[in-house]
Symmetry: C2
Subunit: 706 residues, 2 copies
């Protein structure tokens, strides 16, 4: 029993039992109604999940909910948000749509939340319109450089480039009074914009489609940073909470954006600012006198968003480990959507449910119980800022940090049907590769997912040669608190685009009322074979992590990342650092020592696999593998970055792909004088990463080394 190891028959049986048609039926049910966080339908899906996970023939050992009282943001039902063009006499000359066009009968119900910018403050700013491209700092600086008066204007921006909230923050810093955000057909539809070129005629975004989203800068419940949002928890006063957009903001469709943008006067926007609305984009301010609007017309935004404390639930299910029940492999996805959310997140939840059915059936039959515990999670209120998962990590911080082997996230399982795409920390590469080499790629006649993947996304590894390229994890879904706050090895798995066929920012109906079951069924993954491929990939990774006697985490694969970071630092920062008497020598040495210790540990694992090890020897090595990621946490390294403690993955600004704390400090210091506080901070950040690497190395060495 204590030597229980991965059973390939069980693995193959699970792979074989995962059914595309059941995923399809799961998705049909999950996306039948809009299920915005904390809505009645969201609560109904909590019950659906509980029922599935408590099923006597296909359920798990146990399932429970954890509920938090969190601050969400909704548009007013009584006073819908409105964007209009007002002539100098105060007459409303033009109004933007308040809802998307009801093209398939699913865009019209009372549960379809109108487009809005969650957490944008209420207000009714009015002013001349300017066009600000993607609303980055550089974009507003460009307008300012061109002498355009921004104070009191309404800025029309397009999605992409920077985060949603950042557009409002940047705008406000230039005195802009309100921000409109639209999706340009150039960015989402490969330029196509006509009704008959878009959904329901193709996968393209219809002209009235609007991307909703959270404009909150951080993640987690805004009122309870670092504390679980229990009923009795201390809460910040919303008025003093930080991270909300400073000015009213509202997203609109490109149908309406075109009317506004194509009537602007002023300088022609730079080439890279042009889009596919079929006119020259000008900067404003204000409308041209020969256009559709009277000269001196202004844009009025009426935003009536409200903050509300709401209950939001996570659903947790567990399969108890037979041998090491105190080691957890976590697998999760959010449940809440903006509207029907067929792709986001229900494509992932449909996979989660099919995987839990297959595993649960084996479990209830008594033919299988994993070596380690498996915890499945359906998170609440992700769309508002990863709230359910973050509160969970706050509530169970110690327990999760002590015991979690890895976190697997499958949010949108199928963006498109071309290739696997995996983001993760380096130790997961090997288990993902092993898994995907054994699974056929949909529609590729027996080619493996791995072989298909390496054709789409690859890199030349100094260790392995040409391999699929893993992406890095930002904060785009519920893995963020697990990786950045808890230091847990994490990954995010999906099927995605052929980048030679589309340059869409994301699948076109993302966060709109057109993200429906039919959209998936007809355009994203007809036949659901890619959904099944993701279920198989995630399922195989899950089983390997939970059942293998030796954890299939190749910590040596961190070395390649560290070497690349180091090389970038030497090449791009080294000269100027040297001029400021900051030596990269200790960092070089720390990376070398890490490499050596990681390689030696991998050798010890191999040697032990050849012997008949006692269970505590295996556990010892597995703990070294499991806890490596934890050793990179330093909760004091980046005091201004909420939740970000992982010294290798804190968000990096600037273009040099190196150790992010060092890169960020460097870019703040580079234009300051020798001896400045900013240069001292560069040395501090260098010492922080060296200390983290040396601390990590110490945990990889033989445990009785002094």
């Amino acid at each position: 029993l204590v030597s229980q190891d991965l059973d390939l028959e069980v693995l193959n049986s699970v792979m074989g039992q995962l059914e595309a048609s059941r995923i399809q039926e799961n998705l049909r049910e999950l996306s039948r109604e809009p299920h915005l966080a904390s809505s009645a339908r969201d609560e109904a899906l909590v019950q659906l999940l509980l029922q599935r996970w408590r099923d006597e023939t296909s359920g798990l050992d146990a399932a429970e909910t954890t509920t938090y009282e969190v601050l969400l943001s909704f548009p007013s039902q009584e006073q819908p948000n409105l964007v209009t063009v007002v002539d100098p006499n105060g007459n409303v000359f033009f109004s933007c749509r308040q809802r998307e066009e009801n093209l398939t009968g699913e865009q019209g119900g009372p549960d379809v939340v109108p487009p809005y910018a969650a957490y944008a403050p209420p207000g009714t700013p009015q002013g001349r319109l300017v066009y600000a491209n993607r609303g980055s700092e550089e974009d507003f600086k460009e307008l300012w450089t061109q002498g355009i008066e921004l104070n009191g204007t309404i800025a029309l921006t397009r999605y992409g480039g920077v985060g949603r909230g950042a557009k409002a923050v940047n705008a406000a810093s230039y005195g802009v009074a309100g921000v409109l955000v639209y999706t340009d057909p150039a960015d989402i539809n490969d330029g196509q914009s006509l009704p008959n070129e878009t959904f329901p005629h193709s996968w393209g975004l219809p002209p009235s489609g609007v991307e909703r989203g959270s404009y909150f800068e951080y993640f987690g419940d805004p009122l309870t940073p670092y504390l679980p949002a229990t009923h009795s928890s201390f809460r910040l006063d919303p008025a003093s909470a930080s991270g909300f957009p400073p000015i009213p903001s509202q997203p609109i469709g490109f149908e309406d954006a075109k009317v506004l943008l194509c009537n602007l006067q002023g300088n022609l926007a730079p080439d890279t600012w042009q889009g596919a609305l079929g006119c020259d984009y000008r900067l404003g301010p204000g409308f041209r006198p020969d256009g559709e609007f009277q000269a001196d017309s202004q844009v009025n935004m009426s935003v009536y968003n409200r903050l509300e404390l709401r209950n939001s639930s996570n659903v947790l299910g567990i399969i108890r480990g037979a041998v090491e029940p105190d080691r957890y492999v976590l697998y999760g996805n959010h449940r809440d959507s903006w509207v029907h959310g067929a792709v986001d997140p229900s494509s992932g939840t449909a996979v989660l449910l099919e995987l839990s059915r297959v595993l649960g059936t084996l479990l209830k039959k008594g033919t299988w119980r994993p070596r380690r515990s498996i915890v499945l999670a359906s998170w609440g209120a992700e769309e508002f800022g990863l709230i359910g998962s973050t509160e969970f990590t706050e509530e169970f911080f110690s327990k999760l940090q002590e015991r979690t082997v890895a976190y697997i996230n499958v949010d949108i399982s199928v963006f498109a049907n071309a290739s696997l795409r995996v983001q993760g920390t380096p130790p997961v590469q090997s288990v993902v590769f092993s898994s995907t080499k054994q699974i056929p790629a949909p529609g590729r006649g027996g080619l493996s997912i791995y072989d298909n993947w390496v054709q789409h996304f690859n890199r030349s590894s100094s260790v392995y040669g040409l391999v699929p390229s893993l992406g890095t994890l930002g904060a785009g879904s519920d893995y963020a608190p697990f990786l950045h706050f808890l230091g847990i090895t994490s990954m995010d798995i999906a099927y995605t685009y052929d980048r030679s066929k589309t340059s869409a920012r994301i699948y076109p109906t993302y966060h709109t009322a057109f993200d429906t079951f039919d959209y998936v069924d007809k355009f994203v993954d007809p036949g659901f074979s890619c959904h099944r491929a993701v279920a198989q990939t995630a399922g195989s990774v899950l089983l390997r992590l939970s059942d293998s006697l030796f954890l299939p985490l190749n910590i040596s694969d961190y070395t390649e990342t560290l070497r690349a970071f180091l090389q970038a630092a030497e090449q791009d920062l080294g000269a100027l650092l040297g001029q400021h008497s900051i030596s990269l020598g200790p960092l070089v040495s720390a990376v070398e020592k890490f490499e050596e210790a990681a390689a030696a540990l991998s050798q010890r694992v191999l040697a032990l696999q050849e012997s008949s090890p006692d269970p505590l020897q295996v556990r010892m090595l597995n703990d070294q593998l499991m806890l490596l990621e934890r050793t990179f946490l330093n909760p004091r390294a980046f005091p201004e970055e909420r939740y970000y403690s992982h010294v290798l993955w804190v968000p990096r600004t600037g273009s040099v792909a190196t150790f992010p704390g060092l890169a960020n400090a460097y870019s703040r210091a580079r234009d300051t004088a020798p001896g400045s506080a900013a240069w001292a901070e560069v040395q501090n950040q260098l010492s922080i990463v060296v200390a983290a690497l040396e601390g990590a190395t110490a945990t990889l060495r033989p445990v009785t080394d002094l």
Copy 2:
């Protein structure tokens, strides 16, 4: 093998082999010369330790040093510090001693560092003298209330009450220019002060004796908070580092203090400010015209202390665990002294060496190897602020946090020969009780250490009835970084006073040049039987922690502490909290849930002990016990408190013995208006401790509970 458990024969054999005479000889060698941190003799003792721990017949498996480059503070050899009385014409009328009197031939050598206040800044303030009792905030407020002009004065204070550095901080906040500190015979000698009443005639402090000490407010190397002080580490600019005394400070003996204090003019000091110098203590400012000094004489302080970067080493030795080498029981003491340091710290080091000899001999004979690894440590530069141990915890943070079962500290092993005294966190109570019940108390004719102890220090436990009372751990020795920064269960063990016989603050020659081998041999522990008793106690605890199959940590004993904290909160804070709408209900509930989970876990341990458990089941429960203390850490709870992260043991100001974060926030809020930020912080601290307790409870529950 995997079920290896404590062998009582081995335990008894160790108890029997610990020899008083060998401890005596260790002490003779260790205290032969002054061994101030980083001195040549300190380095020689590093070699002595390495040699002992690498001995082929009585050494450990391995021994190494770790060396840090740390900021120490020393008096100038060229310009000795000097305190004088200067008459209005600038003539020096009186000078305090610059060295202690050479009473035994050991107070005169070049390696005896003159008395000084480490880290006090250089400077030559001169002003009228005031007497400020113990230099607390209240003491200076009292002087201010009495209308005494403090600006530009020199304040004479006595040791005790508040920390060394705090006297200077408080003084400076009232404009005082320099601080003198002396030890009053009332506080150290039970009033005796004559040469023939004191050492070498008794254990009393001679009139010229001066307590040296660190006046640095924090612990750890002052220039590298949270980073190990490696050669290449980022260092703060000393000018901007915090925690140093703001004004020149200097300690003096009571012989000199008497001359100054008994000549003061002004109001009679309050009763509680009076001491045993044989005169009425007056407040000043300045000297009385009918005394020894000319009217308007001032006190001049010439302080020439210098900060220096020095190498300081720890010595680490290891006995590799046979079954769970990745679980560490740590046992340590500092090595550096102020002068000869026979009591502080060599009495502890002498015990450490004897224990290592006995264990090493068993090990080399092949008759014993512990289940878990034992790590012995000799820390450097403790006297300057726990520097060696703190840097060690910074360098090996992750490794130690993951794997350390407990830290045992034996600094001064024998303060006096009356009774055991143990400070520790609640889970160590049971193993200390088990150990001490089996060891005879010196000189008590077969009475156990436990039975003798309970006569001296006891409390009425709601669970156990009358038991010895464990003290709580502050930051007085090297356990501080292990407990407060790493969250490791810790304890400090010593033999101490009969409080009915002396009210001395501490043993009288503490930190003076009179703390010599003869002092110990003649007055502290003739025959060294108490040293042996401490060796036996610490040895038994060490063996039980390292060898027991089930960790002998009774985590249920935390419940009594939590209940007491809760009761104090309800009784003393509850009413006013209620008026501010802050409910203790969630805290009550959190304590109840903790109690329940802890009791249930203890039951599961008992049940498993009755069965024949597999090794991973035992490991699982042991990990729950080991990691409990870790779950109380919150590195963001007290941002202004360097290193203090343990929410139950952060320093508490104020008199209510309750949850310290809550108590501190409460005392800052109590005089503020409803709705103030201070009252919000009370609610925040309440939520922090509730979240910590609930997080801890989650780790105690069965590992597959959701």
